[in-house]
Symmetry: D2
Subunit: 355 residues, 4 copies
Amino acid sequence: MSDNTFGRLIRLTTFGESHGEALGGVVDGFPSGVAIDMDFIRFRMARRRPGSTSLGTKRSESDDVEILSGVYNGMTTGAPIGFIIRNTSQHSSDYDDIADKFRPGHADYTYQMKYGIRDPRGGGRSSGRETSCRVFGGALCELLLRKEGISVGAGVVAVGKAKASGYEWNPPFPPPLYAPSCIEYGAMEDEIRRAQSESDSVGGIVECRVTGMVAGLGEPAAGKLDADLAGAIMSIGAVKGIEFGSGFEAASRRGSENNDQMRMEEGRPVFLSNNAGGILGGISNGNDIIMRIAVKPTPSIAIEQKTVNAAMENTEIIVRGRHDPCIAIRAVPVVEAMTALVLADHLCIARAYAG
Amino acid sequence: MSDNTFGRLIRLTTFGESHGEALGGVVDGFPSGVAIDMDFIRFRMARRRPGSTSLGTKRSESDDVEILSGVYNGMTTGAPIGFIIRNTSQHSSDYDDIADKFRPGHADYTYQMKYGIRDPRGGGRSSGRETSCRVFGGALCELLLRKEGISVGAGVVAVGKAKASGYEWNPPFPPPLYAPSCIEYGAMEDEIRRAQSESDSVGGIVECRVTGMVAGLGEPAAGKLDADLAGAIMSIGAVKGIEFGSGFEAASRRGSENNDQMRMEEGRPVFLSNNAGGILGGISNGNDIIMRIAVKPTPSIAIEQKTVNAAMENTEIIVRGRHDPCIAIRAVPVVEAMTALVLADHLCIARAYAG
Amino acid sequence: MSDNTFGRLIRLTTFGESHGEALGGVVDGFPSGVAIDMDFIRFRMARRRPGSTSLGTKRSESDDVEILSGVYNGMTTGAPIGFIIRNTSQHSSDYDDIADKFRPGHADYTYQMKYGIRDPRGGGRSSGRETSCRVFGGALCELLLRKEGISVGAGVVAVGKAKASGYEWNPPFPPPLYAPSCIEYGAMEDEIRRAQSESDSVGGIVECRVTGMVAGLGEPAAGKLDADLAGAIMSIGAVKGIEFGSGFEAASRRGSENNDQMRMEEGRPVFLSNNAGGILGGISNGNDIIMRIAVKPTPSIAIEQKTVNAAMENTEIIVRGRHDPCIAIRAVPVVEAMTALVLADHLCIARAYAG
Amino acid sequence: MSDNTFGRLIRLTTFGESHGEALGGVVDGFPSGVAIDMDFIRFRMARRRPGSTSLGTKRSESDDVEILSGVYNGMTTGAPIGFIIRNTSQHSSDYDDIADKFRPGHADYTYQMKYGIRDPRGGGRSSGRETSCRVFGGALCELLLRKEGISVGAGVVAVGKAKASGYEWNPPFPPPLYAPSCIEYGAMEDEIRRAQSESDSVGGIVECRVTGMVAGLGEPAAGKLDADLAGAIMSIGAVKGIEFGSGFEAASRRGSENNDQMRMEEGRPVFLSNNAGGILGGISNGNDIIMRIAVKPTPSIAIEQKTVNAAMENTEIIVRGRHDPCIAIRAVPVVEAMTALVLADHLCIARAYAG
């Protein structure tokens, strides 16, 4: 496995399997002098934790993070921030009867093809539990962004056929859905409950917005801000698509509809619309960054499916256990985290060239 | 500008502005012993070139690439491959009357905010002409992929409201549309001609497929194959979204619909569907990789728009000149190139860990 | 602090301060299928540990390493190997009376200038204790190199005015000196004891050899093998110089003396001398790699020295505590580790381009 | 070949073989707003050029650099700076009679072992001509450093047995020796002339100093300033050793001799000596950086030597042609360039974390 590091100046490296001793990582390149607000970090991590919402898995993990370095008297020192999250709730026996079968929609088959060796307990590095490390790193980066007045928020805006409309944006959104208040809220809940009652799962769409943005983050060719965000967010398990601003809708539009025209207002230039989603030519334009992310339905379902086992024989599989019926909800804090990591990284890069 | 390099082991670094002396770059980390098929390279580059299709700009550029190093007797030596593409057709005067105005939908404003200095002739590093270097690098990588039986092809599958359906996949697709043969071909052409006749432009969707894939490329956490593809393709100008396999459609599905079940066929495991788009948990599963990419309408239109100038005054702009009415067509060879770059890079990474 | 990662494909990232909770790190990009010989790893780490030799500090640290991930049933899985080393023996009070004084020869002053914030207990990231993480990573890499028949060994060949001569090379060398058997062994010990009895310290030279080398590791321009080794070894505290083969002696020689001529022997080409130290034009030639490393005397001495304090006032300092009289001895296992890291990394890089 | 890039934020990528079409490269990550002093750049490049000193090769190359991008109206724009240097003086026939023999002391053998393919004309990527690209990149970086008051200078301080003493430091030093004025100047010249008259070559030592340094550049662990300098300078062909400050001499000293004590002078802290060579714990302390670099004698000599040919047969070789009798002279501008590259890179990194 050649790569477990995100970022360029601010870099998060993660390690750990869901059923090993511990997960953890290193946040390197993080500026000194940032106050560590542990309440905020715990809040962010609690939102990701299994069992945090009534519409999610009943599996409960503690996710207590232990910071081992890089912080002195509550402030970052500039030194690398090492951290670990011990594994405590390990129901490895849940996996016994499916240990040698490739779960449809999971990385089991590709992992086996790639490495030839596979820890069957919970997916190894492909486990969603790895994202706990990203949420920790992202929360640190949010603390840095807040000093600049930049806020990151995400929420569920569609579940199955139910799509939120006419919502206001005031994150963080509360459980159970982590969705903005809207007429369709109940319909989205229903989609999940119905899927769950049928031993099935359902997909969803997460929207993420960054407010208080500064103009000028990102590069025009290789380090485009939207390219880096897309890469970071596509690295979250179950994400199958991402769009910015008018996104796929732009493909059916005319230029005269889609361009964001400009006017001076109160002495500063403003855009009259935000079809660009806050990024033009790879560089932030100061508008809110707006992304929508497609999350597939949880692949683990208790419905019988055709599959193949490690001995390369036909078989059937029913994936029992405590799985989320709609993994999109659980993706919300991870999307926020990856977004914060990319933005903080670009903020540092921009500083290197300022003045 | 801190980053003009794509890739990790095989790396393409590009330089050059559309109205400077030349563009060019370096392909580094490229294996030795690959035969340089200049006809193929020229074919790929010709498809990107302005003036290559009757539905595109009438602007003509020569795009002759000069290879300066790394090739000896028609074979790569393993040394870095330096190349340049001289600029010849420079109608800088086209830009005179709009030099100090920020063109809506362009990087002009963000570029100015970021660098404080801006070469007004053609967009500097944000110019689409920079992609000629990517197409050259991508063509080299395709030569490498072909040795492994891997092929990359892309085509336009939607223009404005017209969407292709029921098409077969046999790229490379011919001009003028670079689209697969389908009932809606004429309707797609009409969308472009109508937009053009109204001094407007129109968006489109590009589909890209990789056939002959091997299983096992990509990493489970930070270097996911789909994450790297998304990052590389989002770095193409005018791209506003990307999805893999069932993509955004997956968000409205049940897990039982979206999972790709498996069966043994003729002694080897096969997937009974390809909703994953060929990538599971960040690692290729051997199926075709399938991506769809949303391309916004060309921002340069000859319709009057509101904007602001460098002196921060309200003004209007009409962007005349020889612009593509549907930039999605022109994105086709660039999507192929970026895809090839990512796959060749991952092929080399995988080799480092094989055996 | 922007960088705590060594290597390119195989990468060691370290974190931790000497007086914090724990040190640790991540070995990423490490191949799967390598058997973890914990006895060997503990042996390597024991040699670095304070208190391991009668000529070293009496300070004792346990240096028990806990592997948290990446190993399953005693074999590496290819996943990142996270590890921590808890801090147990923390005599922070030793530092109380010198907390605000810049110790001559230490990083105290530069650290303060750079970060503005400084954990006065033991040097923060500049502490020698950070090297325990490198020795762990290096030991893993040695396990990989051994599979290829490559061995790394280092030893002390000079202390103060006493220089070893006529020695045979059969590492690992035993305590107290970690030096090859030679006539001058006693004189070297005497240099240390005399310095110690006078509350002073003394410098030394470490030699490192790599045997069983393959030809072809390293690159001709930017990734020269000797350049990467020099960078890695110069990153060890107290190292002030490095030379390869005839090294500084080559500067006074003629070309006819210094060139290594060649002859066929038993069907294969051999060099008739090894003035190159095993590396020609940045690429290994199959001969033993031979390096000599200059290590300055331990800066912590109990002799009164002039210095300045954090309030920028003149003062005097006597650095008491349990310090090594000759830090060169302690550098031996770290030199071995950094050498192994670079070689294993280049081995993986070479594999990416083989065949 | 996997790596032809130097640096982390400011990155120089080079390409080209000595007997191909052209050499060139890209300087990426370079700040905008730096005035391009072409006279200075040409001066630096002229010093490296063969034929530039009466004690060097009579071979003459033009080394005219063509800047292709990244500069507008004489100022850097922040965009990548592409450049090429055409090859004009190619006496490929000089190499005809030695094309299949491995020249002792050259990279011929290792290059063949590594790549299996070798352009026999002039050494491929191992050619000293590649350093012309480094001198160009280094000169750009010097322009950046000068804005901060930092100057880089190097000179020859030993040739063969003749060692300069008691010299003042006022670079740039003039031809023919690029050495500081000293009593031993004539003796150093004599060493070269004598070697040359005997068809032999001779080694030398280059000293490099950086004046006007700021404190705080470099990192305490992986990105130590001296480690990066050592890596960069060891990547210059023929360099076999490097030392900082008291260097190898420190190995024979006591701590009480070698530590640099401190005192307040005129309100600011000063070091009473500079045995550290300006770098403490990997971080610059504001003193002059002082390095000494061992350069081996030119391996190309017209004396008969034993070697092996590509058919793996014993043979003899006489390397005729126009070679430098003392390559140390020619290393002077390259040492300056690599030093400037590393310092400018660290300056940008430090800016990312300032404030």
